[in-house]
């Protein structure tokens, strides 16, 4: 009993050190731009940089659009699979896992081959088209997280009976999805959304290879050419991700209480 508790704490301590030491070191380093004293100079430089503002805004917009696309694709799909084709669930689950297995770089090269300016679907011919392709690519990358989050949310309600209850009251599919299904999985959708946000904000490969002015390539560029600013940016990026995760944690407390199961 006592020794098991000791080992539990020991493991926890080692894990915490492994996690926090580099983080604290980075934070500490980011504060040392001014010789001999701690200061926020690095952050001031970063925030004052036009390219920071431009790329960050770009990535936030792309992230929001990615989330919208993801919700539009994933919620009806996961719902339909649960309602009408439960036997296909393992297949769909496998498909949604593919983006974790196939490296982003492979996807991008596929895109470049498929949608080049001489192809029948020349997405890459214009900047807007490339932006659209980037969003589609990001939605693919976020698919494993989004699908799992939504599917877990759907599991907490009796999808079939609620659908039928709404149908017999006269509701069509749009009403059912928007007023019955979506509100009940909203918390799950939001956790999926914040995960997607965290992924998109720092993504490098796709943005860089498609040559879009996103935050990821900017981070890389700064990292290669400066000393203190990259540390400040790393801390910022970490803070954003961490904030997203905390929001997910907080949201999960508001998950709807299901009263569908007979007591």
């Amino acid at each position: 009993m006592k020794s098991s508790r000791f080992w539990a704490w020991a493991t926890f301590t080692v894990g915490a050190l492994y996690f926090f030491v580099p983080l604290i070191a980075t934070l500490e380093f980011s504060l040392r731009m001014r010789r001999g004293e701690y200061s926020f100079d690095a952050y001031r430089v970063v925030f004052g940089d036009d390219r920071f503002q431009a790329t960050f805004t770009y990535s936030v917009v792309v992230a929001i659009l990615t989330i919208l696309l993801g919700v539009l694709v994933v919620v009806p799909t996961a719902y339909w699979i649960r309602l009408r084709m439960p036997h296909l669930r393992p297949v769909v689950e496998f498909i949604t896992l593919l983006p974790l297995i196939i490296p982003a770089i492979v996807i991008v090269f596929g895109y470049i081959r498929m949608y080049g300016s001489s192809s029948p679907l020349p997405f890459l011919a214009t900047a807007r088209g490339t932006d659209a392709l980037l969003i589609i690519g990001y939605a693919t990358l976020a698919l494993p997280y989004m699908y799992r989050a939504v599917d877990t949310g759907l599991r907490t309600i009796d999808v079939r009976t609620l659908t039928e209850a709404a149908q017999i009251l006269g509701a069509g599919w749009t009403t059912i999805i928007s007023r019955v299904i979506l509100p009940n999985v909203l918390i799950a959708v939001l956790s999926g959304a914040f995960l997607s946000f965290a992924i998109v904000i720092g993504e490098f490969t796709m943005a860089s290879l498609l040559n879009r002015p996103a935050f990821g390539p900017y981070l890389q560029n700064i990292g290669a050419n400066r000393a203190y600013e990259p540390a400040a940016l790393a801390v910022l990026a970490f803070a954003i991700t961490w904030a997203c995760m905390s929001v997910i944690q907080i949201l999960s407390r508001f998950a709807p209480k299901s009263a569908n199961q007979p007591r």
């Binding site: 009796d158 039928e164 209850a165 017999i168 009251l169 509701a171 069509g172 209480k257 009263a259 007979p262």
Partner: protein, 354 residues
């Protein structure tokens, strides 16, 4: 029939190779309360879901108010339905749940509010409008589900085992409440249950189902007292079975355990053939009495003292006949092992067709 409102005609339903509902026919009058009664898996829910439009019949027709709805989508049928698992929308309040159908139908805000208020008072939960489903007990949730189904004034109300998730006390009070509301609104209703007591006590008519078929359709009185098939007789109520042999077909004489009883009516089976007779416990008394002039000799078996009633088992050869007698403070209950005679009227003897 004078005023048929719902007509189910030769409906069959196959799932793959298995036929779940077969050759189902039923005419329901306007305002009538009809129960589908049968054991689990006999196709009650499937038949109800075809009326609702959730399943499409493999053959046959369903008419509501003279209109063929066989291929109409559920959301176009103007039907109210209550599910066993309540199926309230967990994200909506009680009032929003009740208003759901009205809102979908585009009814004005003010009208919605008035109707919700009316429904809440009908289900006797006037102050529960702003609660969420998870804050209600099972019985309250099911009443809200009933109000939600009735709020848009549907043409037809379908209930699929609405009481079976509730505990016994709530079940009985809600049973009466549902029937009272149904009568008050005069809404044509189909009620699915596997509980014979529920069906007998609530219904205008009962359809007893077995293996996807309607075995018998009739009033509770008919179903109980004149079961048409052996299944109906054994599924509804308690039944004493007497194995015998036909002594004479046209006189209706049957030999049971070496004794002969006369039914006073012809029997279809030929003389010498084995036959099963059945008697309800309440149709049997100890000793032949006024109007119960047929009798059989046997031996008292188990005696259960239940207070106002004494339940006695009498062995007649290999058959055991159960009967209830009222507790008479002036005379002690029968004693096990002593000889006894049972009396019954030939009219109450059921000849079971297999």
């Amino acid at each position: 029939m004078a005023d048929t409102f719902l007509s189910i005609q030769n409906v069959r339903k196959d799932f793959g190779a298995t036929t779940v509902v077969n050759d189902f026919n039923l005419d329901v009058e306007r305002g009538e309360f009809v129960s589908f009664l049968g054991p689990s898996g006999c196709g009650k829910t499937t038949m109800l879901r075809m009326v609702a439009g959730f399943e499409e019949p493999s053959a046959g027709r369903i008419m509501i108010g003279g209109v063929d709805v066989t291929n109409l989508k559920p959301n176009k049928r103007d039907i109210g339905m209550v599910f066993q698992a309540y199926a309230l929308f967990p994200n909506l309040t009680v009032a929003q749940n009740i208003a759901f159908g009205l809102r979908v139908a585009g009814v004005s805000r003010a009208e919605q509010e008035a109707r919700v208020k009316e429904m809440l008072s009908i289900i006797k939960l006037p102050d529960f409008g702003s609660r969420y489903p998870y804050q209600l007990s099972g019985g309250q949730q099911q009443r809200v589900a009933l109000a939600r189904a009735l709020a848009p004034s549907p043409k037809l109300l379908l209930l699929d085992e609405p009481l079976s998730a509730l505990d016994a006390k709530v079940r009985i009070s809600l049973r009466d409440e549902i029937r009272a509301i149904q009568k008050r609104l005069g809404i044509t209703t189909i009620f699915v249950t596997h509980d014979q007591e529920e069906a007998l006590s609530m219904s205008d008519r009962i359809v007893v189902m077995y293996g996807g078929k309607a075995e018998q359709t009739g009033t509770p009185f008919e179903i109980y007292n004149r079961p048409a098939t052996r299944f109906v007789a054994s599924f509804v109520g308690t039944l004493n079975l007497l194995e015998g042999r036909v002594a004479s077909s046209d006189r209706g004489a049957v030999e049971v355990d070496g004794q002969t009883i006369e039914l006073g009516r012809p029997i279809e089976a030929e003389a010498g053939k084995p036959i099963t007779l059945a008697l309800r416990p309440e149709a049997v008394s100890l000793g032949e009495t006024n109007g119960r002039e047929q009798g059989l000799s046997g031996t008292i078996g188990d005696v259960h003292f239940l207070g106002s009633v004494i339940r006695v088992k009498v062995g007649v050869g290999r058959n055991a006949v159960m009967l209830d007698t009222f507790n008479d403070p002036a005379s002690p209950p029968p004693v096990a092992g002593t000889p006894a005679r049972i009396g019954f009227s030939p009219r109450d003897v059921l000849v079971l067709a297999d």
